[in-house]
Amino acid sequence: MNSPHVQNPGSGVSGIMLRVLAALLPALAAYVYFFGPAILVSLALASVTALAAEAAMLRLRGYPLRYFLLDGSALLTGWLLALSIPPLAPWWLIVVGTLFAIVIAKHLYGGLGNNLFNPAMVGFAVLMISFPAHMTHWLTPLPLAHDGLSLVQQLSFIFGENLPIGVKLDAVTMATPLDVIKTQLSLGGTVGEIRDHTPVFSTLSGLGTQTIAAFYLAGGLFLLHQRIITWHIPASFLGVFVLTAALFQGIDANHYAPPLFHLFSGGALLGAFFIATDYVTAPTTPRGKLIFGGCIGLLVYLIRVFGGYPDGVAFAVLIMNAAVPLIDAYTQPKVFGHKD
């Protein structure tokens, strides 16, 4: 036996993953409250697909199944993807995305600990590029829906693409606030007009979505408190992101939405605390994390405002994932007893 002979009685990899899943629960509750139970269906689909794909890949690669399957990493990938895409979509959408994430982005790159790109974001990018139409039908918040779909009706749509007679998809879904802002600005509106005349907007950003975002923030603070993540990536991501938004708003408040709107819209808070902080695909040095987070924050804003997509978290994260080995190599901290 080699030293050390003692081991931190922590709960290991699965303990970390389970706590991250737990940190998502409050936001999930808010999601169900504002948008109905469809998200639970897509989470279940993602979980089953992720675990099945993980099990198949582990078996193919000759790994002990039970031990690795329970590490929770595949489940987390599935959940993050499910939370990133519209919940009211044909069942195969989340299944295809999850399969791509687990099989290609994770296992073909070497499995847990070896993948260069964030698996959930690879899955998202594949869906975004391959099925753009399905990726824009976000549920209308229940308080705004005249007649919201029941669970059975949602299930019927997810598994059979059937809607109740007389109900059109457009009636139960709507564009996200980010989408609305982007489209309307390009049509010549100003930020103030758009916000005043579109019912989906609320105090900070979208009705419902802003609450969910706030709970992502709370979950992120929990992860910080648990020392599962360090402050570097969320702080630099959100810091640069908000500062850039403030800068543009300062230049032209009519054409650039305020920083808080951006902060509580789309995937900014989910991305900053839960996605960009993925250990495997993020830098490990403190300075590296700051650079990584800062660049993502900048890219997210640029993609949102000047790019072709309404949100930019997935692409910003994937671009910066590719730079991680380089960032790590150039930001090695000073070793004890060595001069700077």
Binding site: Y279, T285, K339
Partner: protein, 513 residues
């Protein structure tokens, strides 16, 4: 209040100190047979100066220092040397070592002890006394103390650090020594301070040892030594870490503390310095903690050479579910190879291990780059990177990421959520790199030899050719000078032509098919 500094990282493993520190130090009885290893220090092994069959007295030198970084070894009791042979010893390598086996006569007759007055003696004689009394660092490394206390000519020593941190869990031998024998420890510190003439003397003790701190403060009254309570954080007791905490200075990589004007010694060492100088007694015993899965954990003063199995029995014996024994602490200690392996100077603790007290690590998972190892590393290394490089035998990268600054404290392995035995990978890489360096050196030497031989052969060939050319030139010159020679040459030529003509005449013409 003194301003303290911090080092990066560190961990808070469960302490388990109370188990063994409740009872006072007990004296272990004289064993019948003592096994005294001749190598108990870092550096050169001592040279035996007794023969099997010889009678020895307690404290008599049985092996002398060999070279500068070496110290003497002594008979722990009076008796007869029955053998000089290889025997299991507690060493991290698990390899046996040459030992003097001494059968005790039970009379404990002392060799003539000669205390010296350190203030009135030539410095080199004081160094010699420490060497010949076998004084080494008792914190675990067993580095010869007289070398540590030799600042050299040009060095000015600013700080003498006395290390009473004892940061490893379970170990309490320094703690109880300071509680019970603080004044003698301070006497030893006085001798060290006299030898080094430092500007300040700082005694660093972790704040989980309030009784030791109080006793040492009491004993330091009337001196300008400062007892500093340092925060409990493993590995504060690491030499470079404690120096950083107390002085804010970082010992440069690959250097000794003396290079920045600091000298650091253990409290237990200070105690033996006092015994060696003021009492004339060499290091033939030490205080050792016997704890873990034994019935009565306690500290014992034990003769060097006592079989460790006898110590376990003194502590009430090991409980039935004991699986193995650790020598040293749980963070950096190693497995005891055999129960009859003897206590040596560097052993401060023996821990009986059961699965209940030390649950075996679960199987290792892949590294997920969570970075906890880097957050806990007191050497500011990136342990997971070193792990990747070691695992893939990418030794050049491992070296470039300063593998050799790793002190093997075990913090990284302790915090790893994937339960990867990181330190084992570093030990593997270090030994592989050392082997590669050795091979490289050997290859360079062989190449040098080969090239020298080639050059020599070429030179010899050239010399021969020159000699031959000279000879031929001489012959030519001689031939040209001799008129007979030309006639002789013409006669030979004529004879050759005649012979060819004859042969042509006798040879039948070729057949045509």
């Amino acid at each position: 209040m003194r301003t303290l500094f911090t080092f990066h990282g560190g961990i808070h493993p469960p302490q388990h100190k109370e188990e063994s520190s409740r009872l006072p130090i007990a004296f272990a009885p004289l064993p019948q047979r003592l096994i005294v290893p001749l190598r108990q220090n870092i550096g050169a092994s001592s040279t035996a100066i007794v023969q099997p069959g010889e009678q020895v007295l307690k404290g008599q030198m049985i092996a002398a220092a060999d070279g500068l970084i070496s110290v003497a070894v002594h008979a722990p009791t009076s008796g007869r040397v029955v053998a000089l042979e290889n025997h299991a010893v507690p060493h991290v390598s698990g390899m046996p070592g040459l030992c003097a086996i001494i059968e005790a006569d039970g009379e404990e007759r002392w060799f003539a002890r000669q205390p010296i007055d350190y203030r009135n003696i030539a410095p080199h004689l004081l160094h010699q006394r420490l060497r010949d009394a076998g004084v080494v660092g008792l914190g675990g490394a067993a580095f010869p103390t007289h070398v540590k206390l030799d600042p050299g000519q040009q060095q000015k020593i600013q700080t003498l650090v006395i290390n009473g941190a004892e940061c490893e869990p379970w170990i309490t031998s320094d703690d109880v020594l300071m509680r019970e024998r603080a004044s003698e420890v301070v006497e030893g510190i006085k001798i060290m301070a006299f030898m080094m003439q430092p500007e300040e003397v700082l005694i660093g003790i972790e704040d989980n040892k309030p009784e030791a701190i109080a006793a040492m403060r009491q004993a330091c009254q009337g001196t300008n030594y400062e007892v500093v309570a340092v925060p409990t954080l493993y590995p504060t007791g690491g030499e470079k870490q404690l120096i950083k905490v107390l002085t804010g200075k970082e010992v440069p990589s690959g250097s000794r503390p003396l290079s920045i004007g600091v000298s650091c010694s253990n409290t237990g060492t200070a105690y033996t310095v006092h015994r060696a100088v003021n009492c004339g007694e060499p290091v033939i015993s030490r205080v050792v903690t016997v704890t873990g899965n034994v019935r009565q954990p306690q500290n014992f003063e034990v003769l060097i050479g006592t079989p460790i199995g006898e110590l376990i029995a003194l502590a009430g014996g090991a409980k039935d579910d004991t699986r193995r024994y650790i020598v040293g602490g749980p963070m950096m200690g190693f497995d005891l190879p055999a129960l009859d392996a003897p206590l040596v100077k560097s052993v401060n603790c023996v821990i009986a291990v059961s699965d209940a007290l030390f649950p075996p690590a679960p199987p290792a998972m892949p590294c997920i780059r969570c970075g906890r190892c880097a957050q806990s590393c007191p050497a500011d290394l990136q342990p997971f990177e070193l792990y990747w490089f070691s695992q893939s035998r990418n030794f050049d990268k491992a070296r470039a990421y300063q593998l050799f600054d790793c002190i093997e404290c075990g913090c990284c392995s302790y915090v790893c959520p994937s339960n990867i035995p990181l330190v084992s990978y570093y030990r593997f890489a270090k030994s592989e790199i050392a082997a590669i360096d050795r091979d490289k050196k050997a290859a360079e030497l062989a190449k040098e030899r080969f090239e020298f031989r080639e050059a020599r052969l070429a030179r010899e060939k050239q010399q021969k050719a020159a000699l031959l050319a000279q000879k031929q030139a001489q012959q030519k010159a001689a031939a040209a000078a001799d008129p007979d020679a030309a006639a002789k040459k013409a006669a030979i030529q004529a004879a050759l032509e005649r012979a060819q003509a004859r042969q042509a005449a006798t040879t039948p013409p070729p057949e045509h098919p």
